[in-house]
Amino acid sequence: MYSKETIERFRNPKNTGEIPNADAVGEVGNMKCGDVMKIYLKVEKNKIKDIKFQTYGCMAAIASSDMLCELAKGKTLDEALNIKFSDITKGLGELPQIKIHCSVLGTHALKKAIENYKSNN
């Protein structure tokens, strides 16, 4: 069902955890839909210096969160806003149709974190 890339990333995610003094946090999803993603940002000179995630969800949700962090790290905030769910699924090889929403949720979480950052700075 899952690609090798998805399974590998799920098993060994590199960007899990909290950033204790994060500059912004974005949380999306709810228990009813079965996934909750929380993205922590550290921003320096308008660039994402560090990014971490905490995700409650299935294998696809965890792998998507990790892929998203990898794609966003080092990008300017505006560049990061342009990350599309298809960039995540491409990075994961592919995702089953029914799991595409996990990658969409990832982009929403990042967008929310960046919006929170912008409104506070």
């Binding site: 899990t16 909290e18 839909c33 079965g34 993603m37 995700t55 409650y56 294998m59």
Partner: protein, 399 residues
């Protein structure tokens, strides 16, 4: 030491198979019993030459074995392609043959082959009542009594639940159905050979059975139909299976099915029960964990089902797979369905609890070392996933 050896075996791709509720390994005796009916006695059981006669004999002998196992008559056993077909046949067959009545009763915790058949029957103008269950998955006998109407055709219930292992009280339900003169159907796909079934003592009219949950081959099952039950054929064609189920009988699979029944014995049940209880008591030591379904005699000997707070079931299955353990989940993201398990919702679990469920199911081949390995492996996985979880911190406060 033993657990360390198992850990090595797991790394060497020897899977620890704890998904026997999904399907089981075919027993070597079963495979062996089937081979002659592929290679030598491959005749069509409906033909009159020697090969046909030999196949017919094997077919009828298998029918006798299966009939005897549930205290039925051989002519009351109809072979099918498996549990799903048996459930479809029992429900649709009795519904349409008794269509002047139009009412069916079932429960909220049935297998999809019963629930979706009932939904379809509703679209055909039948009325279906879905009984609630209590926190352990048992139906309320009074609610059953109250829901039976003049026009009720049958009550259908899963004998031992496939997700949470709840074993319903057939004797009591059978008495009610007999007294109210409605048919009583059970889906015994999980319970067959593990929990006693006696069609006379339990007043059963229809029983769905299958082979692949009991170390038999896939694609074969049976439906017990009590004599004089008003049921219409659902698959039309030749005169096979007393004109009730057309299609050339799958003789080799049927022989394997009967063999699987013959080689079961009570020592398997005792062993599975002991390992099940060890697994349950050890897993419940993980903080924030609950057992879904009852404890003790009223739980299927091969079934365990847990919910872990703050994490999702499919992710647990993913990490168990990496550790060489095959498990399953009834969780939101598990299959091609994003809704949490209808069974777990029916016993009152929240979305979060239902999403965080893990089913570990045993067989007679499960060893103590394998259970020890699972017990060692699972807490680490739960801990790791809780570290990923946005709810992990909240959980720390409540534990």
């Amino acid at each position: 030491m033993a657990a360390a050896k198992i850990a090595r075996d797991a790394q060497m791709n020897k899977t620890i198979y704890l998904d026997n509720g999904s399907t089981t390994k075919v027993a070597p005796e079963v495979t062996k019993s089937m081979i002659p009916y592929f290679e030598e006695e491959y005749g069509n059981a409906s033909t009159i030459h020697a090969k046909g006669v030999n196949a017919k004999q094997a077919l009828e002998n298998s029918r006798k074995i299966i009939a005897k196992s549930i205290n039925a008559l051989p002519e009351e056993i109809i072979f099918t392609s498996g549990g799903t077909e048996s459930n479809n046949f029992a429900l649709k067959g009795t519904a349409f043959e008794n269509k002047e009545k139009r009412h069916i009763i079932t429960t909220k915790i049935e297998h999809s082959s019963v629930l979706n058949t009932c939904k379809w029957l509703e679209s055909q103008g039948f009325e279906v009542t879905y009984l609630s269950v209590d926190k352990d998955g048992f139906i309320d006998l009074n609610e059953l009594k109250k829901s039976i109407k003049e026009k009720t055709i049958l009550f259908s219930v899963i004998h031992a639940n496939n997700e949470i292992g709840t074993i319903q009280n057939l004797e009591e339900i059978g008495k009610i159905c007999k007294q109210k003169k409605i048919y009583f159907h059970i889906d015994a796909c999980q319970s067959y050979t593990k929990v006693p079934i006696d069609v006379k003592k339990q007043n059963l009219d229809l029983v769905s059975l299958n082979a692949h949950k009991i170390h038999g081959p896939k694609g074969v099952g049976a439906l017990y139909i009590k004599k004089a039950t008003k049921i219409s054929s659902w698959q039309h064609g030749g005169s096979h299976e007393s004109h009730l189920r057309a299609g050339t009988e799958n003789v080799s699979a049927i022989v394997g099915f009967a063999k699987a029944v013959q080689i079961t014995n009570s020592s398997h049940i005792k062993k599975m029960t002991e390992l099940r209880d060890k697994l349950i008591s050890e897993v419940l030591k993980i903080p924030g964990t609950r057992l879904n379904g009852p404890q003790g005699d009223k739980r299927l000997c091969s079934n365990t089902d847990f919910s872990f707070n703050a994490i999702e079931g499919e992710a647990i299955v993913g990490f168990l797979d990496e550790a060489g353990i095959a498990a399953s989940t009834g969780s939101a993201c598990a299959e091609k369905n994003l809704d949490p398990s209808h069974v777990l919702k029916a016993i009152g679990l929240s979305h979060e609890q239902a999403n965080g469920s893990l089913r570990l199911t045993l067989s007679r081949f499960t060893t103590e070392q394998e259970i020890c390995y699972a017990i060692q492996t699972l807490p680490e996985i739960v801990k790791k996933l809780r570290q990923f979880s946005p709810f992990g911190r909240e959980l720390k406060n409540v534990l």
